[in-house]
Amino acid sequence: MHTNTRILAHNFVYHEPKTLDEALTLLDKHKPGIKILAGGTDVLPKMKRNHFECERLMYIKNIKELSFIDNSNGLKIGAATLLSDLEKSPEIKQNYHALHEAIKAIGAIAIRNMATIGGNICNAAPPADTVPALLIFDAQLKLVKLGGERTVPLNQFITGAEQTIIEHGELLHSIEMPELTGGLLSTFVKLGRVSVDTARINMAVAADIDGSSNTIKTARVALGAVGTKAYRCPDSEALLAGKKVDESVILAFADSLTSVCDYAIPGRYSLPYKREAVRKLAEDAFKQLLS
């Protein structure tokens, strides 16, 4: 054993830039051996397990430009914004409710006080809780590097378990979601072994429900932790569209999610469990949406 809770086994040079320019310069100069540290709630456990190595580590939570919530036109969030700050935002709670619920489901308060949304995305763990919520809001990610930037959709950014298209020298700057139209209700549901736990399955659902006819006009569904990355479920979305909200549609929705599991993780050890358990999430999601 070469780890110790109090001492990191690796030596590295530590940087604490105060501005984005400074950070991008450092990233450019020291690539590829430099890595980013935000809240450290993924990085530190990995370092202690010897699963994360770097020559240099750059801490980004002192960079003011990376921490903001802007809801003037849609929603823009700085990558280094604390989860607990996002949790407190009344606009997110009101309009992007699934994201609010997803954040609340992460860790315990101490974790949310440290962790950032950018860290949750860039860590790209299959059960990352903000990802399904961001997927149903069609999130775009703004990546910046010295002398350049690009914007990519979240579903293209994450390519697999702990894999993204981010390049050396690049930094996630912000997350952008278009303004929501109509009366989109949304929610997030999660299943873990215990309450403070990474998800065995998580799911975000949004629906535009016509109040008078109790009919779903459109729906969006994203599933996480079933496979190597979270994804939208177009078949389930199509199934819900145009349907009246009742017991039978919820059952059909649950069936469709079971099929998604069968298709996504055939033969996997966890399949027999997940294809059943996801049915409970289908029911929970609708209960919450309608409450």
């Binding site: 054993m1 070469h2 780890t3 110790n4 809770t5 109090r6 001492i7 086994a9 456990p45 202690k48 397990r49 299943l191 072994r193 215990v194 309450s195 403070v196 736990d197 065995r200 966890s270 027999p272 469990y273 059943e276 358990a277 049915r279 409970k280 029911e283």
Partner: protein
């Protein structure tokens, strides 16, 4: 019964409460000394290997002091010296020449700071010759498996280890092991493949139950599998050792027994005990993991002696998770009964994978036999236990010491038997339980006593009302996705390890009590407090006896120099045995007090009474019957000083000669979600029988804490190993080792506790223990409730969501 106490049974501020909540309490890891060095341990990255070489040259070049196997005394020891030496297995050195589990300490380094020590440690080069390793006792036990040990010591005798068997224990009662033909009984203490009876018959005793089950009308045979679990005590093991100028050393360390640590270190380092002083510091929980001397303690000592400077060694959580676990167990249980519900015979077989060292497997197997023999009356009883070495963290006692494991096997089977017989589970239990006047095996077959207090019936009756037992559903009768069920199990633990005759286990304690010159009192005790209130109990008992107000009785800081011997705060003996000693010493002080007061009041001490004067809140000595002369305790003490009459004090040792069982009855209500497989305990009723309740609030805390760990044991906790790497799957991290938090507990208003109204005549003011009993039957009750909810019986712990989903699906589809 006895409810006229002044202090006992009152809820009072814990003596160490303020220090703990303000962070002022001193634990071993808080000790800071001038000129102190800091140490870290180099731990194995392989599960089983010979150490070919350890090269410390680079580390030493950095100025570090290194400790390698060549530096430590070549003394084979067992870290737990609670059993008598003849029954103690010794297989380890302070640092080994062969690695037997991943994470085992192989070298240590001290430097000016922990960081420097760590940097130097990283420079040590170790060459291993790797060997096949085993994370499953059944594999390790196979003929031809690589030997984890060639030989070990039992007492002074060296013996060869065969098929990695660390020890065996076979115990029979009744007509087991009698020749099926002529009935001659044979000695079963050593297992035989073949037995040649004098009458000419040859047969296989291990497979033969003889005539034991002949009268059984119903026979059940079941198997159970219980996981390895980590203690998860709050404080990780720590030590600070200071060599003393005149030789010897002073030690501050995490332990449940300061005296045993001193004796062991004296033996290992050949230092007389008067030159070793082990300080009593606060203990951040134990769950049994510090009954034995912790593995880092002699390492820290050896480093300090080598460096000739104080050295501090604090384990990290990862290190701690690789240091000690609860014993896993695989059981086969056969039970036979008559149609009217009388148990005829039982045959329990267990195999335990004990990890890389034999800490206390022999007494464990004895205790397992005892817990089994003492739950129900088995006229014919057979127990066969085998402990097998594996390449995993050494197992040691953990809250219950084999009892939760055995309880799960027996209480699950008893429920099944009740169903088979068409009898209510409570009725079947009442027909067969071991209770008042029966023999109780408090610490295996050699430590037995007669039960003198028993709340079993009372608790079953009260509990059944509190949970609406008779309204519970028929097993598996619910529909919908969330199934509700109610379950019951009963258990117990011993209070201490004393019997009328001392058996294989050492048990006595000591105390000093003195009345100060103002009438306040100091108690000196060697016992440790895990946080459950043992020290407060000592204060309350002395306060009650000497009629000195609770606020005026304190515990002196003590160490091994200033106290007599105490074996350990283990086996739920803190109150009954440890405080029992304080009680008996305080009785002597009371006698002395009355004698001195008698001189002042010109009365014979027999004519004096010590009472609590409610008005003044002071203890007063009064003439018996008519209260014409009186003096307060303070007045007597002050006058004794002025007249140079000496201090009113006493010191002594005391051995309890009984091991009364503290009974617990658990009723739980669960909800099982068919789709997610999640089991939620939605209501719990726990009743405890600890005799007189000395610290009612602390007792309730013990019961609720036991519930918490029991939920974890039955549904979550598992220190599982990767059979490919020999590493813990959680790698020593809490984010992967799942435990029950407050959120997984039933709502506060659904956690009900209560106590039986019993009085233990042999205990201090009628008290016995409770701590370990609090966990022993929770998992069994939960599994029984899950059966009631689902109609499916789970016999493997933890019961995982995936297993629940799979089993319920199979049931719905008619596959089981």
């Amino acid at each position: 019964m006895d409810n006229h106490f002044d202090v006992i049974g009152s809820v009072l501020p814990k003596k160490d409460g303020i220090a703990k909540v303000t962070g002022k309490e001193i634990y071993a890891s808080d000790v800071e000394l001038p000129d102190m060095m800091h140490a870290v341990v180099l731990r194995s990255t392989v599960a089983h290997a010979e150490i070919k070489s350890i090269d410390t040259s680079e580390a030493e070049a950095m100025g570090a002091i290194c400790l390698v196997p060549d530096d430590v005394p070549q003394v084979y020891y067992n870290e737990r010296i609670v059993s008598i030496p003849e029954k103690t297995y010794r297989d380890r050195l302070v640092l080994p020449r062969k690695v037997r589990h991943y994470g085992e300490a192989i070298a240590a380094v001290a430097a000016e700071t922990e960081e420097e020590a760590f940097a130097a440690m990283q420079k040590i080069k170790v060459e291993y010759k790797e060997l096949p390793f085993y994370t499953d006792p059944l594999e390790a036990n196979k003929p031809g498996a690589a030997p984890i040990y060639e030989s070990v010591f039992l007492g002074e005798n060296k013996f060869d280890v065969v098929n990695n068997v660390a020890c065996e224990r076979n115990i029979t009662v009744g007509i087991f092991n009698c020749c099926p033909t002529c009935g001659t009984r044979f000695d079963y203490s050593c297992r035989l493949d073949e037995y040649h009876c004098g009458c000419g018959i040859v047969y296989t005793p291990a497979e033969d139950d003889g005539k034991a089950f002949d009268n059984a009308e119903v026979i059940l045979e079941k198997e159970y599998d219980l996981s390895r679990v980590y203690h998860a005590q709050m404080e990780t093991k720590s030590a600070v050792c200071r060599p003393e100028p005149e030789g010897g050393f002073t030690l501050w360390t995490t332990t449940q027994s300061i005296h045993n640590v001193r004796i062991l270190l004296g033996e290992i380092f050949s230092i007389p005990l008067n030159k070793i002083n082990v300080k009593r510091v606060a203990l951040g929980g134990g769950f049994g993991s510090s009954i034995q001397m912790n593995s880092i303690t002699p390492i820290c000592t050896a480093l300090a002696l080598k460096a000739r400077r104080p050295v501090k060694l604090v384990s990290s959580r990862e290190e701690d998770m690789y240091d000690h676990h609860k014993y896993p167990a695989k059981f086969k249980f056969k039970i036979g009964a008559t149609k009217d519900g009388k148990i005829v015979a039982g045959h329990l077989t267990v195999i335990v994978g004990i990890g890389g060292h034999n800490v206390q497997a022999y007494p464990l197997l004895g205790c397992m036999a005892g817990w089994y023999a003492s739950l129900y009356k088995f006229p014919n009883l057979k127990f066969e236990g085998t402990a097998v070495y594996t390449n995993q963290a050494p197992c040691c006692a953990m809250q219950g010491y084999g009892n939760p494991q055995v309880n799960f096997a027996v209480e699950s089977t008893i429920d099944m038997l009740a169903e088979e017989l068409g009898m209510d589970p409570i009725e079947l239990r009442l027909k067969n339980y071991v209770g008042l006047g029966d023999e109780f095996w408090g610490q295996g077959p050699t430590v037995k006593s007669t039960i003198k207090s028993c709340g079993v019936e009372e608790m079953l009756e009260r509990g059944s009302k509190m949970i609406d037992w008779y309204e519970r559903p028929q097993p598996g009768s619910g529909d919908g996705n969330v199934l509700r069920g109610v379950g019951l199990a009963r258990g117990f633990h011993t209070s201490g390890t004393g019997g009328p005759k001392p058996g294989e286990v050492i048990d006595y304690s000591s105390a000093s009590v003195k009345i100060n010159e103002d009438g306040s009192v100091d108690i000196m005790t060697p016992i440790m407090d895990h946080g459950g209130g043992t020290w407060d109990a000592a204060v309350k008992i002395v306060s009650e006896l000497l009629k000195v107000p609770y606020e005026m009785v304190s515990l002196s800081p003590t160490d091994t120099r200033t106290t007599g011997y105490d074996v350990n705060t283990h086996a739920t003996r803190g109150v009954y045995c440890g405080c029992g000693a304080a009680y008996h010493v305080a009785l002597k002080v009371k006698q002395e007090l009355l004698t001195v007061a008698g001189q002042f009041l010109e009365e014979h001490p027999h004519d004096l009474d010590l009472i609590m004067d409610k008005e003044s809140g002071q203890g007063v000595i009064v003439t018996k019957g008519l209260d014409c002369k009186r003096m307060t305790v303070g007045e007597v003490a002050a006058k004794a000083r002025v007249l140079s009459m000496g201090t009113i004090a006493a010191t002594g040792s005391y051995r309890q000669k009984n091991c009364p069982p503290c009974f617990v009855t658990n009723f739980v209500e669960v909800e099982v979600d068919k789709r997610t497989g999640q089991i939620r305990v939605v209501k719990s009723v726990t009743l405890g029988d600890c005799g007189t309740t000395i610290n009612p609030d602390m007792l309730e805390g013990q019961l609720v804490g036991g519930l918490n760990r029991g939920i974890g044991y039955s549904t979550l906790e598992e220190a599982s190993y990767d059979p490919k790497t020999g590493k813990l799957n959680c790698e020593g991290f809490y984010d992967s080792y799942k435990m029950t938090t407050a959120v997984e507990m039933p709502p506060l208003n659904k956690i009900e506790t209560g106590f039986a109204s019993t009085y233990e005549p042999t205990g201090p003011f009628g008290a016995k223990g409770l701590g370990e009993a609090a966990v022993n039957s929770i998992a069994s009750a939960i599994a029984n409730a899950v059966y009631n909810a689902t109609g499916v019986r789970f016999t493997k712990l933890p019961i995982t969501p995936a297993e629940v989903v799979a089993a319920l699906k199979a049931k719905d589809e008619g596959r089981i």
